[in-house]
Amino acid sequence: MTEPTDTAIRVRGLRKSYAGVPAVDGLDLDVRTGEVFALLGPNGAGKTTTVEILEGYRHRDAGDVSVLGHDPQSAGAGWRKRIGIVLQSSGGHDEITVEELVGHFAGYYPGARDPDEVIAAVGLDEKRRTRARHLSGGQRRRLDVALGILGHPALLFLDEPTTGFDPEARREFWALITSLADGGTTIILTTHYLDEAEHLADRLGVITAGRIVALDTPDRLGGRDQDQAIVGWTEDGVPRTARTSEPTALVAELSARLGAEVPALTVTRPTLEDVYLRLIDGAATTASAHPSPSTARSTIQPADPQEPVPS
């Protein structure tokens, strides 16, 4: 199979059902070489099924899939050398220390990264001689990331990589991912954290009911750039807001009326989260699987960090 080298992943008409219930239902996707692509969606939307088909873990029912020019369900060790996988759940090797495990996994790859360098890069330098059993949830996740990037992958899969991270660790993780992307690694990320997706991703795909319902850059997703802005200010001691597609004109008018500096002026666009929730609600109501928007809304809360739910 030959692919244009600027396409890392190409998916057409992907379908996968479990016991007759479709989990992925005609999904199309293109991921360009070198981009960071985030897949968003509620639990059960088909994110993990899609990603695990791309990783070669699951067999599809129908559709065409090409990952780095190969069909993942028949690709061999040569292909696996070029991908890195950070699974959603992690465990095992409990009694092995960080440096032992990273050093061991380095032996699986030709041209592996230097284990010491990788341990330092994921911030586990002080835990080198700690057994995996004694790592915190976030540290264990960083160990997973270390094992995922050891082989110098051309394509890195990150399935909810920062679940259980504290905010500082998440920022540090973002810096690491950014540096990998700068080095040319293509990255597929699934996450429940919209700030994470917005910070890291070149493009986002929103998946509900097994299909991509929106796909764009973070600042344009779901027509976000076309959305009405919300202008807030204070007039006669009362906070006011107005929605407008012409915020600049409104601010000029306010300035003329209230003086050069409009008191407590804010101009905001809908956040990615606002757009995302609208997309999910819309998909849920049109699909009529969840006719009540409140039902749909309840399914899109970020997963409890202590208890990752497979989607």
């Binding site: 873990y57 095992g92 092995i96 996994f105 032996g107 790859y109 041209g111 990264r113 360098e117 890069a121």
Partner: protein, 284 residues
Amino acid sequence: MSSLIRTGPDRRPHTASRPSTPRIAAARTRLEIAMYFRERDSVIFSFLFPIIMLGIFAVAFSEQIGPDEGPIDFAQYFLPGMVASGIALVSFQTMALSLAIEREDGTLKRLRGTPMPPMAYFLGKIGMILVVGVAQIALLLAVAALAFGAELPTEPDRWLTFAWCYALGTAAGTVLGIAFSSVPRSAKSASAVVVGPLIILQFISGVFFVYTDLPSWLQNIASVFPLKWTAQGMRSVFLPDHFEDVEVSGSWQHGSTALVLAVWLILGLIVCVRTFRWRRRDDG
């Protein structure tokens, strides 16, 4: 985590050696041995268990056992059973438990996502079982001889019998352990599902009880399974010649022992190849 990796895809490998199946298998063996001995449960309940049991037998029963023309100490009599028990624990129990747990906790899934050759994984398990098994038998024999006065054979043909019984028993136990690892529905139930049947088997296979004292229907059930045959083979190694007459068949049955163990080994291999899974049953 803030220090960045700025190495491009064409960065030179930090090591010149290319990964090969033997090299990775050797690395996996070392890792498996470390995991085995760092897990206190496995050290007590599979590595030391036969040695502890032998100590209990030796201390609890001070009288002698066997035919009138030449009874022997209990410790001597139960030594072959403890050797057979050790083989079953280290090969079958260790394999079935570790695979069930590694399938459940995602270790297998993670490994499957790397270029590690699957054969290297199994060779690593087998290497670990050989190293742990030989260490266990050596310790067991040393304790039996030095602490409890058991006499070890000096004839080379007895040690030859020991070698093939040990090799066949361990090989069969290992593949059956791999095959059986798919039976437990979860890691939580694994130890009960694996250890329970093995304990029953030890009671009816001449490990904890004198085999000839069992009712014949229980003997018949036990004869289906490999443990009875490794125990009998080990009796032929460690008991005096005149004990052969008190065996059920009046013979050590070396031919049947080799045949039964070989059949189990082949059956186990077939089941392994057909049923082995890298992921949990409920994982797609």
